[in-house]
C-alpha cells in the first residue's frame, strides 16, 4: 500500500505527517521525494546507510565527425543545443531524451554520464528510510524520484511517500504509483488556495484522497470549509500544539516520544488504512 503525502506549499506538515505515520506503523518504508531539501532523515537518523549515485545522460560531440547539418539542434525541443561554427551543448538545459544521438546522421554524438545526486537508504527501528538528494544547481529531480520509487516496485507492505511541495512534474512523478494521497492543509485562505492546487492535480490523476487538517485552532477553519464544500474526506485534525511543535522542531518523532501522539497518529493510520481498503 503506497501512500503519498502532499501539499501545495512547503511548511504545512507533510514531513510531520509522513514521518509519524511511518513510525507508528509496525513496519514500513519512508521515502523522501522532496529531493531539493529532504529532511525526513533528520527525524529518523537512519543507520547502516547505503548510498547510490544517480546520473543522467548528456550528449557530447566528436567535432571531427560533426558536419554542422544541425539536425540535432532542430530536433531538440528544449533548445539545449546551438551550432556556432561548432556544436555547443547546454548540459543544464538538456532533458536527457537521447533524441539528438539517435538523429545524428554522422554518428557524431554520444552520451556521457553526469551525476546529479544520490539515493541513501538506511534503517530506523522498523522503518526503512530512503532519501533522495538532488545536487544543488541541477534542473530536475525526476531521475532521482524514479530511482526512489523503484524501491517500492516489489514491496507489498506499507510505504509513505513524502512529496515535494507544489503540483509540478516532480510531484506528479512522486504520486504516479500511489494507491492513496493524503493532503496536509493549513487553516488559512492561503492554505485553501494551496490545497486546491493539489486537489485538482490528484483529481486529474484519479487517485483516492483525503485531508489532514494541520495547525487547527479554535474558530473557523477555511480549509475544513473547503473540504466540506468539495466533499473531500477529512481524515484527521492535528491541533496547533506547542508541545508537538517543539518536539518536531527538535527533530524528534512525536509518536516515539509521547503516548498521546502515538494514539493520535495510530488513529489517523487506522483511518487511512480503512479508506485505502474501501
Amino acid at each position: 500500500m503506497k501512500i503519498a503525502v502532499l501539499s501545495g506549499k512547503g511548511g504545512t506538515g507533510k514531513t510531520l505527517v509522513s514521518v509519524n505515520l511511518a513510525a507508528v506503523a509496525k513496519e514500513s518504508i519512508y521515502i523522501d521525494c522532496d529531493v531539493e531539501e529532504p529532511n525526513g532523515h533528520l527525524y529518523f537518523k537512519p543507520e547502516d546507510i547505503e548510498s547510490e549515485e544517480i546520473s543522467i545522460k548528456i550528449p557530447f560531440v566528436d567535432e571531427t565527425l560533426c558536419h554542422g547539418c544541425r539536425k540535432c539542434t532542430d530536433f531538440c525541443r528544449f533548445n539545449a543545443l546551438a551550432y556556432i561554427n561548432k556544436l555547443i551543448v547546454f548540459d543544464e538545459v538538456c532533458h536527457s531524451c537521447g533524441g539528438c544521438v539517435l538523429i545524428c546522421p554522422e554518428k557524431a554524438l554520444a552520451e556521457k554520464e553526469k551525476i546529479i545526486g544520490e539515493v541513501q537508504s538506511g534503517v530506523s527501528e522498523k522503518v526503512t528510510v530512503i532519501t533522495g538528494i538532488l545536487n544543488t544547481g541541477e534542473a530536475s529531480g525526476i531521475p532521482i524520484i524514479k530511482k526512489l520509487l523503484s524501491h517500492l516496485a516489489e514491496n507489498k507492505g506499507l510505504s509513505f511517500i513524502d512529496c515535494p511541495p507544489g503540483s509540478a512534474c516532480i510531484v506528479m512523478e512522486s504520486i504516479k504509483d500511489a494507491d492513496y494521497c493524503i493532503f496536509v492543509a493549513e487553516p488559512t485562505l492561503f492554505g485553501v488556495h494551496n490545497l486546491n492546487m493539489v486537489y485538482e492535480l490528484v483529481t486529474l490523476f484519479d487517485k483516492p484522497h483525503g485531508v489532514v487538517l494541520n495547525k487547527c485552532l479554535e474558530g473557523e477553519n477555511p480549509a475544513e470549509k473547503f473540504c466540506l464544500e468539495k466533499g473531500i474526506k477529512i481524515l484527521g485534525k492535528i491541533p496547533f500544539d506547542n508541545e508537538l511543535g517543539t518536539l518536531n522542531s527538535n527533530a524528534l518523532i512525536a509518536v516515539r516520544e509521547e503516548i498521546k501522539y502515538r494514539d493520535m497518529f495510530s488513529s489517523l493510520l487506522q483511518m487511512v488504512t480503512e479508506e485505502v481498503q474501501a
Binding site: T73, C76, R77, F78, N79, A80, L81, A82, Y83, I84, N85, K86, I88, F90, V93
Partner: protein
Amino acid sequence: MKIAMPVDDKSMETTVCQSFGRTPYFLIYDTESKESVFLDNSAAASQGGAGIKAAQTIVDNKVSALLTPRCGENAAEVMKATHIQMYKTINDSIKDNIEALNAGNLSLLDEIHAGFHNHGEK
C-alpha cells in the same frame, strides 16, 4: 553594418522588447542601406532554452551587433562563440538606439542575468 534588436511589433515605430529570448520579433536593420526586415522569433513559445534558440537566430542572420536591454547567461554563452558585439539599449525607441549606435554612444552590454527559467518569464 547589419544589426539586430528585439522588438514588440513589426514596425519601426514600435518599442524595443524588454526580453531577448522571448521577444515576439527581431528587427534586422542595415545601417548603410537603412533596410529593415522583421523576423518572427520562433523561440518565443519555447518551453525552455528560448535564449539559446533566439541567439542562434541572431547568429544565423549574420549581424555584426545586437542591441538589447538584457541578455541571459545561456544566450550570452552562444554570443560569446561569435564576433557579434552586444550593446545595451538606452530607451525603448528603435530610432533613438540606431542613432546612438551610429554616433558611437551605446555602451557594451556587460551585465548578464542568470535567466528567469520559469520564474517570471512565461
